[in-house]
């Protein structure tokens, strides 16, 4: 069985000095998933990096949620393209002398 690491939303917010409502709005926009256990909200540790990135976009770069959604989508596409580029480069090596 795989162990799941969860981070309490209120602790994350206190740590980053942000409003809990911000995390709720991210969930409503489908940018993160929240797990509720006995009325307490948690974030999967796997999402931590993504969430911290979103916090930086919002609080430091003044990008609104619509902008963050767009950036997240584009970054995902960029990641796919970079992976494809890497695979193609490796394929090209077959024909290099």
């Amino acid at each position: 069985m795989q162990t799941e690491y969860l981070i309490a939303v209120d602790k994350f917010c206190a740590c980053h000095n942000i409003e809990i409502s911000f995390i709720s709005s991210l969930q409503q926009n489908g940018l993160i998933e929240i797990t509720t256990i006995e009325e307490s909200n948690f974030i999967d540790a796997e999402q931590l990096q993504q969430l911290e990135r979103i916090v930086r976009f919002y609080y430091e770069l003044d990008i609104n949620l619509e902008g963050i959604e767009t950036i997240t989508h584009l970054l995902q596409r960029l990641n796919i393209v970079q992976e494809e580029n890497k695979a193609l480069r490796n394929r090209l090596r077959l024909y290099e002398k």
Binding site: C15, H16, N17, Q49, E52, R53, R56, F57, E60, L61, D62, I63, I71, L75, L78, N79, Q82, K86, R89, N90, R91, R93, L94, E96
Partner: protein
């Protein structure tokens, strides 16, 4: 150590107001923030410069010192001594953008003029993850074929890592917590290692399969036979079918590359035959070939 023109970095002139600085900084930060430019080393470098420029220009004390001494920054120490007699100001209210990859890297010029990392002036006492470090390891194809350990040096810290067999060229692995230290009690950053695997003179790799072109003499190609073939795992005996055609392929199942993190599983080795026509034929051989051509 060269003088750094912070105004130029932010694209503003010396008369810029604090609002102008903030706007210029925000604009540049949006352009070069590492979160928006993954895997772009230039963006990271530019972002650090922008951060540093903002650190100085958004802080009235630092800006004053910078403007006053500018290119003569090496004499700034005397200024510092004088300042010790004065009451210190409360510091800047400007924010300093952070990020997993931005860290506290300041230029030697900055360190020399202002000392420290400049982090103390941040408005919010927020916990930040430490900087993510990146490193590159160069391997030969034969190194990547077997699970092995290597000790690497990252920012002065020796880290022993296990490299699983089957790692791919360009693949990046994350080593959690081995990046820069967290700020204000935040967690450490991570270490990202990218592998660069050099081409092999005989074997080419695509995914888990290996490809090799092997020379075969005409007589074995025509009549069939057995040859010894080199693989990354040693030599293997391979039967050659009679009437083997030039450019035809044979697949050796399980003799390719190990599947990453799947012990016991391997790809295939695909051999392409390169049939060599004999040269410097004797008269007798020519005669026999002529006879053959008539049959």
């Amino acid at each position: 150590m060269d003088f750094i023109d912070y105004y130029k970095i932010l694209g503003i002139d010396k008369t810029a107001t604090s609002k102008d600085i903030k706007n210029a900084y925000r604009k540049m930060a949006r352009k070069f923030h590492p979160d928006l430019n993954p895997n772009d080393k230039d963006a990271k470098k530019n972002f650090q410069q922008i951060n540093e420029a903002n650190e100085v220009l958004s802080d009235p004390e630092k800006r004053k010192k910078y403007d006053q001494y500018g290119k003569d920054w090496q004499h700034a120490e005397e200024y510092e001594k004088q300042k010790q007699y004065q009451q210190q100001s409360s510091g800047s209210r400007g924010t300093r953008y952070s990020g997993t990859q931005s860290g506290g890297d300041f230029s030697d010029f900055f360190e020399s003029m202002f000392g420290g990392s400049g982090f103390g002036n941040s408005g919010r006492q927020v916990k930040y993850r430490g900087e993510d470090y990146t490193s590159e390891i160069h391997l030969n194809l034969t190194d990547a074929y077997k699970t092995h350990q290597q000790t690497i040096n990252v920012n002065g810290q020796k880290i022993r890592i296990t490299i699983p067999a089957g790692i791919e060229n360009g693949q990046t692995i994350k080593i959690s917590g081995h990046g820069g230290p967290g700020i204000n009690g935040g967690p450490n950053g991570d270490l990202y290692i990218t592998f660069a695997i050099a081409n092999h003179s005989i074997f080419k790799r695509l995914g888990n399969n290996l490809y090799a072109t092997v020379e075969l003499d005409l007589y074995t190609a025509v009549l069939g036979g057995e040859i010894l073939l080199n693989t990354l795992d040693g030599q293997v005996k391979l039967k050659v079918k009679p009437e083997t055609q030039n450019g035809s392929k044979v697949k050796l199942k399980g003799k390719g590359f190990p599947v990453y993190k799947n012990a016991g599983q391997s790809g295939d080795l695909l051999v392409t035959w390169d049939i060599k026509i004999p040269t410097n034929l004797t008269d007798k051989q020519k005669e026999l070939f002529t006879e053959l051509s008539k049959s």
